[in-house]
Symmetry: none
Subunit: 237 residues, 2 copies
């Protein structure tokens, strides 16, 4: 790990407010010669916060244009473990092309990488670094700092969790094995009749499991319960 990053992470541990974190992120961005650096947490309930160097105008614009719907970076971040190099993504759909054009106008950066990071209970965040320059500049940066960014993402997320932990901790949702089996079958497309048969139980029993899982997941209906369970990693498909 480079000295710059060591100093940054030491300072991060001393930060006691988001404002201080943001100043340190800005400083690190400049030291690394980046266009932007952003840490962004998307909580399970949809709350968002972050610390980074995107200006308010871009943030507001991104939200008002509902770019999250079209953003291939976000979609890749949700579904992948690997760091995402923006140049590896498909920007051909219309919405994505539009986002790309607007981001170029806003001087977000010609190249970027986004590192997804996951914590317990469905916590999700990502660290994004962008650079303005030629392809070779970007390759050089990745070779020099690619692994550093991974570690940085982890350490920033760790600090963010520590800062967040003053507030209420979400209770951990636990489903029983049969609840997991039941929602899992539905998530894989079985009807209730099929699911009951495959689990060798009656549909009545299956329903009890679904309903109790629904209650634990605070879900309005079964589809909602399944979606939450998939999102929380409680069932696999």
């Amino acid at each position: 790990m480079s000295r710059t990053l060591e100093n940054f992470t030491d300072a991060l541990n001393g930060a006691s407010s988001v404002g201080q974190v943001e100043r340190q992120v800005t400083d690190l961005r400049d030291r690394l010669g980046l266009q932007h650096l952003l840490y962004h947490w998307v909580s399970f309930e949809g709350e968002m916060f972050g610390a980074g160097t995107y200006d308010d105008a871009w943030r507001d614009h991104y939200i008002s244009e509902d770019f999250a719907r079209y953003d291939p970076v976000l979609q890749a971040a949700y579904s992948q473990f690997h760091p995402i190099d923006w140049s590896s993504l498909d920007w051909s759909p219309k919405g994505a092309r539009r986002l790309y054009a607007h981001a170029r106008d806003a001087r977000i950066g010609s190249h970027g990488a986004t590192i997804p990071i996951r914590g317990p209970n469905g916590q999700f965040a990502h660290l994004t670094a962008t650079l303005e320059g030629e392809d070779q500049d970007w390759e050089d940066f990745k070779n020099a700092h690619g692994r550093d960014l991974i570690l940085l993402a982890h350490l920033v997320n760790q600090r963010a969790i520590e800062m967040q932990q003053g507030s209420v901790e979400e209770p951990r949702i636990l489903l029983s094995p049969r609840e997991i089996d039941s929602l899992g079958s539905l998530a894989r497309g079985y009807s209730r009749a099929q699911a009951a048969e495959s689990l060798s139980i009656s549909e009545h029993t299956l329903r009890v499991y679904i309903e109790s899982a629904r209650a634990k997941l605070s879900a309005s209906n079964t589809t909602h319960a399944v979606a939450r369970a998939v999102k929380l990693g409680l069932v696999s498909i």
Copy 2:
């Protein structure tokens, strides 16, 4: 990052079998002066695999005694994001004390750290490093290599996912914006009537979007479509 770890991760990328990975892990353990080093993936279905230096006798013993139920390291790994220093855990419950005694007998190590790591779709793994020595030896190791272990966990997990995924690449599925809106509303628990109203369309229109999204996702029914869309990161909830 130290030269030893760089060499290890470069070799890891060239490994084409679990056996090769295991040899490299053993080598790294020795270079770092550790008692043991273990990467352990716990799949959702309960399958476990890993690459590490615990011997088969300990693994079998751990399983036959059902120590996973009592292991405070595992419990902490499931519920925390931070690297877990074993010495920070509460070993006073009866089962945990018993596990601790058996692990000491098996020379697992007097000190250890476990780094939890999470991927998409509920994937969970951890990297554990143990050391036999005095408290000061352990503090020295953590200061020298603590952050390296975090990065190592990430890179090993990345490699493990690559190996697990083989050659099957899912064709990229694209949903239209209205399809995304529709499935997203259902994933958030809206009934079709509510979803149609919130999107300012008729239920008939909503249904067309749901059905076309279902076809694109090769889903048996709507719940299946929603689950797949969540899993693939196509909709957020």
